[in-house]
């Protein structure tokens, strides 16, 4: 018979993970609206692969199968992979990425709770290094023809030209790389015809969907405000400062916050508790670090989005950050606490 406490709050890893999945739904819905149902195929592919890989690894490691399969953590990884990969990526790219995430990044490091790196970001980083072209072919806004996307995913890549285009981040990079085109930065970022008003047409709405889901996670107390606030504030401050310095060379904060994976990262990726910092101060430093590195990689790096590398780099630093940011314990604080 167990020791005290004899009763527990009704909470479980599963209920945490299920609510994270729920919180992703608004973003997924807008994704489908603007870019077609291909993303749902990717989510299904990643989910099935993740569960299968998880089951095999659990069996190999001699762990209870149903207990861990039903915890929902593999599904969260799978969904994040699907949402960060191009929705018209060939099926095997998603499957391979998911396998690497679950088998290598998760289970070879000891399974749930033991992975030093965010598995979804490991998958993204490995795939973008190995298949940069495939990872850069994104669907065109409004090209929502499901049959074409289905074909693109399952073999017939001939149709691709008609349905892909560079992402706003990619377009921006191309423009900035060519000194003659630099003056067009305003056109790239602000032109409604091309990309929309803020972060690129479609993209900004998906970002808004993730933001909504993020608020739900905050309300459910699954995440604390520290990470999203520090991430968004830092990205805003850094990009804002550089945009003020030279608006022709640096995209402003509105664009940076609402394009690419920034909003997804702010609420769903940097907030991964296993691989991130855990103290209140540490969370601020960790998320600010991810944001700053993201901006640096986006602006000066060779890859279209820098979030995956930024997260992995900060994952390495997380234990150190935690060590140096331990909050003072009861009776060892300098000042008296706040009044109620």
């Amino acid at each position: 018979m167990n020791n005290s406490p004899y009763f527990l709050k009704p909470a479980s890893v599963q209920s945490v993970m299920v609510r994270v999945l729920l919180a992703l739904l608004p973003g997924i819905a807008t994704y489908v609206w603007f870019f077609g149902a291909g993303i749902l195929v990717q989510i299904a592919l990643a989910s099935v692969t993740a569960l299968a890989a998880e089951a095999v690894m659990l069996r190999l490691r001699g762990k209870p199968l149903m207990l861990f399969l039903s915890d929902g953590s593999a599904l969260v990884t799978a969904w994040l992979i699907a949402l960060t990969f191009p929705s018209i990526a060939p099926w095997w790219l998603t499957v391979l990425g998911t396998l690497l995430a679950i088998v290598v990044a998760k289970h070879l490091y000891g399974g749930l709770g033991q992975n030093p790196f965010n598995p979804a970001m490991v998958a993204f980083a490995l795939m973008i290094v190995a298949y940069p072209l495939l990872m850069s072919q994104w669907p065109r806004v409004g090209a929502t023809d499901f049959a074409v996307q289905w074909d693109a995913i399952f073999g017939n890549r001939q149709v691709l030209d008609a349905v892909t285009m560079a992402t706003p981040l990619d377009a921006l990079r191309t423009v900035l790389r060519d000194p003659e085109q630099r003056a067009m930065i305003g056109g790239v970022l602000g032109g409604k015809a091309t990309f929309g008003n803020v972060g690129g047409r479609g993209w900004e709405w998906i970002a808004a969907g993730y933001f909504l889901g993020g608020l739900y996670l905050l309300q459910q107390r699954i995440i604390t405000w520290h990470m999203p606030a520090a991430f968004l504030a830092t990205l805003f401050a850094v990009s804002g400062a550089f945009a003020l310095y030279d608006a022709d060379r640096f995209a402003g904060p509105g664009f940076q916050l609402f394009t690419g994976g920034a909003m997804l990262a702010a609420f769903f990726i940097v907030t991964d508790p296993v691989s991130g910092a855990t103290t209140p101060k540490g969370k601020l430093i960790f998320a600010a670090g991810v944001a700053a590195l993201t901006w640096v990689i986006r602006t000066f790096g060779a890859y279209p989005d820098g979030i995956a590398f930024a997260v992995l780099l900060m994952n390495i630093a997380a234990p150190l950050i935690d060590m140096y940011t331990q909050p003072p314990v009861f009776g060892h604080k300098d000042k008296r606490g706040d009044s109620q």
């Binding site: 018979m1 167990n2 020791n3 005290s4 406490p5 004899y6 009763f7 527990l8 709050k9 909470a11 479980s12 890893v13 209920s15 945490v16 209870p64 207990l67 861990f68 915890d71 953590s73 399974g111 749930l112 709770g113 033991q114 699954i222 604390t224 508790p273 296993v274 855990t278 103290t279 935690d322 331990q326 909050p327 003072p328 314990v329 009861f330 009776g331 060892h332 604080k333 008296r336 606490g337 706040d338 009044s339 109620q340």
Partner: protein, 563 residues
């Protein structure tokens, strides 16, 4: 009254289902005297009292049967009059299932008191009053059973700002303080007044969680009367927000005063002292009525048909109390204390003791077995809930890996084992169990290390002594041979008469110097301090020798390991 008090928040805490209503419906009942009282001698923190009675003795109600062992201890008394049938090892109300010395009393049914006399604490010295309370067996009745007399000392300043009475009672199910405050508020405050005088405290704050409006009302009425009688406004009832563990002494001190008393520090250094309301009641009974602590209010709750509070004699089997409350057939365990911090009892016939604030009957329905333990996902829920501002998941990590030094670095010993972390953990990790394990391992290692240190010191001292003895022998030998030589040399000189060669002079000087040194050394090592001892000193020396022998015994296995 309470509106004026500024309150402070403590970090963390949880809000479990309180389940208190079930046992507050009926007034306190006096539990029937059982056929046999099993009164453990060790019922408080500190030294184990020495038995003062033997089998066959007749004892009166309130008669001291266990004498305090040193000052950090508290006496134990017979709960009723009767015959001592045995002084023997009996199962203790503790999870470990250990036995300890108990006085088993067969009540004679007369319930005949010893001569009771009020203690005039105003004309007694503070030390005398404290000794009196120690011998009256008064200990903290909130559950920690720390000897009260040790806490009734204002410390360096000679006075305190605040005396806090703890009526928060934050543990679910437990209502013994609640009903005591409802029914005997006046007596509690009379006890508080005595304590206030002893501590020279400026004010008395009575902290009660706001889920006990009846108790707050009763205490407020009594406080008004007490203030009127005393002609000041010293007593103040403060309603504090209901949040477990608001009744932890440190948490309540923080809520009421904003002061955080660090681990290992005395609260009196911060001008505060905190007592349970039941303790104040016991102080009044001891001082004003001359009645030692022989009973307490015990909540019987949980898986029973009629939960209720009983005034129970120490030594009453818990089973007898439970039987009064119509236990339900699916009951499968008895817990002493509440569901957050209570101890699982090894059997249901263990006695009620001074620490027994609640006898909680459990069942699988009421306290279902926890879901399977999952790995920690570092979600930080435990850190959010920790009222000691710790990072429980870090402590868990290091405790589990048996890296105890690191666990200590993360302030393992600041953990009050309130159970909040384990309560909120979505991975259902029995976190507190890991901390208890780590703490006991660390303590065990410290004891081992001390024993090993003593053994090593003794070993080194022995080497030193042997070396010294060797030197002394050598010096004696040298002196002997030198004397012989001198004789021979004198004879030779007599015969030959030529002056001693310079070499011989040098040799002689060396020998003389060696002799001198040996003499000086001998004088030094002569143990001057053990001659002319008083009998007391001799006894002390004997005691020390006995202790050393004990340590030698303890150290033996380690020496063997070293070999």
């Amino acid at each position: 009254m309470s509106a004026l008090q500024r309150l402070f928040k403590f970090h963390g805490g949880v809000k479990p289902a309180y389940n208190k209503e079930a046992s507050t419906g009926l007034p306190i009942a006096v539990a029937p005297t059982p056929t046999l009282l099993v009164i453990p001698l060790h019922q408080s923190i500190g030294g184990m009292p020495r038995p003062l009675v033997k089998a066959g003795d007749h004892v009166l109600k309130g008669q001291r049967i266990g004498g305090a062992d040193g000052n950090a201890s508290a006496a134990v008394h017979a709960s009723t009059s009767g015959t001592v049938v045995a002084v023997e090892m009996r199962l203790m109300p503790h999870t470990s299932g250990l036995s300890a010395l108990c006085v088993v009393v067969e009540p004679d049914g007369c319930d005949e008191w010893i001569a009771r006399q009020p203690f005039d604490f105003r004309s007694a010295s503070p030390t005398q009053t404290r000794d009196y309370l120690r011998d009256a067996g008064v200990v903290g009745l909130g559950g920690a059973v720390f000897p009260t007399h040790l806490k009734l000392n204002p410390g360096r300043q000679g006075k305190l700002d605040t005396l806090i009475l703890n009526g928060a009672e934050c543990e679910p199910f437990i209502t013994c303080d609640d009903v005591l405050m409802r029914e005997r508020a006046e007596i509690i405050l009379k006890g508080a007044a005595i304590m206030r005088e002893m501590l020279a405290a400026g004010r008395v704050l009575i902290g009660i969680e706001d889920n006990k409006p009846e108790a707050i009302a009763a205490m407020e009425v009594a406080a008004r009367a007490a203030n009127q009688a005393a002609g000041d406004e010293a007593m103040q009832v403060v309603s504090v927000p209901t949040r477990y563990p608001a009744g932890g002494a440190k948490q309540l001190i923080r809520v009421l005063t904003g002061i955080e008393v660090p681990h290992g520090k005395r609260s009196t250094d911060f001008g505060v002292q905190c007592f349970n309301v039941g303790t104040a009641y016991a102080v009044y009974e001891a001082i004003a009525l001359g009645q030692p602590l022989i009973s307490r209010i015990v909540t019987v709750a949980g898986n029973v048909g009629q939960a209720r509070n009983y005034e129970a004699l120490f030594g009453t089997p818990m089973r007898d109390l439970i039987a009064q409350c119509k236990p339900l057939p699916d009951s499968d365990r008895v817990i002493m204390g509440g569901p957050m911090m209570g101890l699982l009892m090894p059997a249901d016939d263990v006695p009620v003791v001074k620490a027994t604030n609640c006898v909680l009957v459990g069942s699988k329905r009421l306290f279902p077995p926890p879901p399977p333990e999952m790995p920690c996902i570092r979600c930080g829920e435990c850190a959010k809930a920790c009222p000691a501002d710790l990072q429980p998941f870090e402590m868990y990590w290091f405790s589990r890996a048996k890296i105890f030094g690191k666990a200590q670095e993360y302030n393992l010993f600041d953990c009050i084992e309130c159970g909040c972390c384990a309560y909120v953990c979505p991975s259902h990790i029995p976190l507190v169990d890991y901390y208890r394990f780590a703490k006991s391992e660390i303590w065990a290692r410290e004891v081992e290390k001390e024993a090993a240190d003593v053994a090593r010191e003794r070993y080194e001292f022995r080497l030193l002594r042997e070396e010294r003895e060797k030197q002394e022998k050598a010096a004696k030998l040298a002196a002997k041979t030198a004397a012989g030589r001198e004789k021979a040399a004198a004879a030779i000189a007599e015969a030959a008469k030529p002056a001693a060669t310079p070499e011989e002079d040098a040799k002689k000087a060396l020998i003389a110097a060696a002799l001198e040194r040996a003499k000086a050394q001998k004088e030094q090592v002569h143990p001057e301090n053990v001659s002319n001892l008083t009998p007391e000193q001799e006894a002390e020396v004997a005691a020390i020798e006995a202790r050393r022998a004990e340590i030698r015994e303890m150290a033996k296995p380690h020496l063997r390991q070293d070999d």
